[in-house]
Structure formats: structure tokens, C-alpha cells
Symmetry: C2
Subunit: 297 residues, 2 copies
């Protein structure tokens, strides 16, 4: 009766790795947070020890692992990650062999999109785009419970050239902080502090912010034109900015998008747990598939 | 044995309506071309008379009808067309009632995408974007035999603001011709004639052309970033321009898209028959579904 067993989701980030033990409905029973170690081999060891810790009461039905970069879900391979310094790592097969458990493997942002669609801000919608704006910027389109992968390359909108550089060099949370510091030689703790200065009337902060929002608005228009999603879920650190971000983006859609249907813009609900919850959903789906196969076989 | 019967596909365009009688493999057995009449009622009458003409030898298994504008495939309704002046016409139900035959209803460009994917330039690919550049500009993404519809609103990239106006006011075949005439007061027969003047070294023609290609290149970068399709099939009148269009677009992708996977750019193969062939495919799919239901029921 593996359908009643919990699953484990692990989200390997650029600096930290998060793991959740969750039931089939996505409710979190336990969680862990560790620094991400260097090298794929050490990441596999960490995943095994997180699974061991979270499996003390009962063996999970399956484990889901998600990573950033270019991910080929169909082959279970991490094709490339500049930040984590790996290429062509067959994580799914390697982890399944070490754990002796079914392993699902995926992409952190696409898994986050799945989680926001099933459990978070896009619950109940026909389709949604998840748009995390943090250290980088990307987008994932989820529909009918599936996220479009494009062979692992879909959604890398942070790489699109816009006025002032590539999108994520202008409009990511990291870029907003860096650009403000470049113009003022005044260190800030992050984009949230730049946002505070915008609210306080700082002209340089306002300039940096408006350039970022303008670039994000352009991205929003293009994804609306191409996909016409019912909802765009804005996540990542920048989504914390609230009306300072959402109001001008909504105005941009109103001003520049002439068609009757524009997406609703909503903040993400799952925060930095979207990836690990998405990994748990991939694991739960895998476990359910195996049950069906067993029952039908 | 309806699976061996032919199907009929009808593509209602802004000026002309095309109809094909095709077998299940998409081979055209007969075709007709008529001016598109005003008003939805007259379009229905035309569709009935085209079906009667093309059904002389044998009743078709099903009929597919596709129209431009905002189309809700799930309800079988033409929501809106500025050019054809209709709104909320339940074409599928109306035509099925008059014909007494199964009727599939869809969108002209999405049907064209299906046809290019199954029978044309994107045969054998995992996914493709069909990008017709003619009187207007739109895009349709096809994957696993399905075209993303976005409730009828997906793909309207012609409406995106770019330098100089909306994309289709700068980069459509119609816009290229119009913009050249505005700058020279020299009438041209169409974008093809502007292309000839570009090839002959005309500076004004070159300027108009480069602005159009630049805007199309931007659209290509965004759709690549969001969808990472294996192939982009460029159709419509402008695709006739050959290397004058495809070479600078390819260079733009090389210059501005940093990731390993970029789509192949190819010209459409089905020309102005893509829509009617796509309508025939929708009809064939509908007929096949009915057969399966009957066999299983």
C-alpha cells in the first residue's frame, strides 16, 4: 500500500539544499535544510543522508530530486549547471541505485511551477506560468499537470537581451541590488533594501527599480502574447516587494496588452519550499504510476 | 468503416475561403477556393455548399472548419474576429446541425501549425512553433499532436509593442509594403517587391526590411527562451523571401541566444493550404475518436 506512504522531495539550490517529507496531498511532515556541497558526488551523498534522516519512521514510497541548470527530465540527467559546476550527471539512475527506491528527477523551477499549480497560488487554474525572480529569472509553463520542458531548455528568459543587458542582469533581485550599489557606491543588503529606498523617495533607487520593472514588464507581455496563461505566479525574492512590483506590472499589462484576456498576476504562495514540494509531487506521481502498473500488470 | 472515408477541411480567411477533400494521411483529393462572404450566416452557407461539391463521390467521415480571430476550440465558438466582424458564433454546433455530419472547429493558425507538424516542415520533430508572417503575425506551439490554445488567446504576438509600433505594424508583409510606400510615396505591389529593392541596394527598402527583421528577431528570441522549440516554421507571404529573411534571423539567434539549443529555422512547406489541411486533420482526428468510441462502446 505504497500510496499511503510519504514521499521525500529534495531541492538542490546554488547555496542551500532543502528536503521535505510529505504525504500524497503535499502536506509537509518534516523538513531539513543543508548547505549545498561542491561536486555532484557530494550532492548524491547529501541526498542519501537526507533520505535516511527523513525515513526514520517509515521508508518513503519514492524520492524526488530537483536541480537547477539544464535538466533533461526524460533521461534523468543534469545536462549542465554553471553554478554547480557539473555536466551530464545521470542523477536519477545514480540516486536510485544508492537508495534502492524509485527516484524522480527534475528541474527546480519546473518542479516549483508544478507545486504552485497543484498546492499554491495557481491552484484550480487551467494553466499558469511560474516566474521566479531571485538570483536569476526564469519561467515555467504548467498545464494539465505537466510543465513544458523543451528538452531542458525552455523558460530561460533570464538570458534574453533587453535594454541595459540580459534580463537577469537588469531585473533579478541580485541585479537590482548590484546596480544600485554601482551607481551609489552605497552597499545594500539586497533588493528589499533598494525597495525600501524607492518607497522613501530615493531617486537612484527609483531609477534602478523602474528599469527592472520595465524589463520584467516586457517579459510579461511576451509570455502573455505567446501563452495567454490564466495566471502568472511571480516568485523568488522580488515577489516580496508587493505592490511596488505588482502595481506597475499590472499597469503595464493594461497599457500594452490590447486583448480581452490578460493573466492574473499573483505572488507565489510556497516561497522557498516550492522546489522541494515540487520534487515531492514528482515522487508522489512516480509512486502512483508504479502502483497503477502493479495493479494493472 | 468511416476510417477509410475522406474528410473535408475548410479554412475561412479574411478574403478567401479554401476547402480540401483529403484522405486520412492528408493527401489532397480535390480542392476549392471561393471569396469569403460577409457575415457568419453566409459563411455557413458557403461551407455547406463546399461540402456538397466535394462530397459528390462519397459522404465525408467528418468536416473541419477553421477561422481567424479569437477561437475557443473547447466550446466550438468563434469568440471574435475584427476582420470578419463577428462575435460569439457557435460555428461547430451550427454547421453540424446543417450538415448532419461530425464537425471539428478550430483556429486557422493553430490548425496550420498542426498541418506543418504532421505533414509539412516540422514532420518528425518533438515540438515546433509555426510563425506565419503575412497580413498579420502570430505564433502557435504544437507538441504531442496538440496546439496550445490559451483559451483562444495564445500566440497573438502581432500585438506586442516593439520599436516603431506593434509587431505586426512593423514586421508583417503588409507592414513592410506600407512602410516603404510611406517613406517613398512610391507604390509597391507587396513585400516581395520591397525585398527585390533590398536586393538591388535600395537604402530605404533596406531600412524598412532591417527594422522588420530586427522586430521578428526579437520575437524569435523570446519564443526560443520561453519554449525552446526544436523547429520554428516560418510561414506566410514573408517566408517567400528566402535567405534575405532567414539569414539575418539565423545570425540574430547566433548572436543573441547563448544557450546550446536554438531552434532550426525552416520555411513552411504547405503554403496557403496549411489552414485547410489542418482543418482536414482536425476532422480526421474527430472521425478517429468517434470510431474508437464506437468500437469500445
Amino acid at each position: 500500500m505504497t500510496e499511503h506512504l510519504p514521499v521525500i522531495g529534495i531541492d538542490v539550490g546554488g547555496t542551500g539544499t532543502k528536503a521535505v517529507l510529505a504525504d500524497a496531498s503535499g502536506a509537509v511532515l518534516a523538513q531539513r535544510h543543508r548547505p549545498t556541497p561542491p561536486r555532484a558526488e557530494r550532492v548524491l551523498e547529501l541526498a542519501c543522508s537526507l533520505v535516511a534522516e527523513l525515513s526514520e519512521d517509515a521508508a518513503p514510497a519514492a524520492v524526488g530530486l530537483v536541480v537547477p541548470g539544464v535538466v533533461d527530465e526524460s533521461r534523468g540527467v543534469a545536462v549542465f549547471s554553471a553554478n554547480l559546476g557539473w555536466s551530464d550527471v545521470p542523477f536519477r539512475a545514480l540516486l536510485a541505485e544508492r537508495l534502492g527506491l524509485p527516484v524522480a528527477f527534475g528541474h527546480d523551477v519546473r518542479a516549483g511551477a508544478l507545486a504552485e499549480h497543484r498546492l499554491g497560488a495557481a491552484r484550480g487554474t487551467a494553466d499558469a506560468v511560474f516566474l521566479p525572480v531571485g538570483t536569476g529569472i526564469s519561467a515555467a509553463h504548467v498545464q494539465n499537470g505537466r510543465v513544458h520542458s523543451g528538452g531542458g531548455y525552455a523558460g530561460e528568459i533570464g538570458q534574453v537581451p533587453v535594454a541595459g543587458g540580459r534580463l537577469e542582469a537588469v531585473a533579478s533581485a541580485a541585479a537590482i541590488s548590484r546596480r544600485y550599489q554601482e551607481r551609489t557606491a552605497d552597499p545594500v543588503a539586497g533588493a528589499a533594501e533598494v525597495a525600501q529606498r524607492v518607497a522613501a523617495g530615493d531617486a537612484i533607487a527609483t531609477g534602478v527599480w523602474e528599469e527592472a520593472v520595465d524589463a520584467l514588464g516586457g517579459a510579461l507581455i511576451w509570455l502573455t502574447a505567446l501563452l495567454a496563461p490564466e495566471v502568472v505566479v511571480v516568485g523568488g525574492g522580488l515577489s516580496q516587494a508587493g505592490p511596488l512590483l505588482f502595481d506597475p506590472l499590472s499597469r503595464r499589462l493594461e497599457a500594452d496588452w490590447p486583448l480581452a484576456r490578460a493573466p492574473r498576476l499573483v505572488p507565489a504562495e510556497l516561497g522557498d519550499r516550492a522546489g522541494s514540494l515540487g520534487a515531492a509531487l514528482l515522487a508522489a506521481d512516480l509512486a502512483a504510476t508504479k502502483i497503477n502498473r502493479t495493479e494493472m500488470g
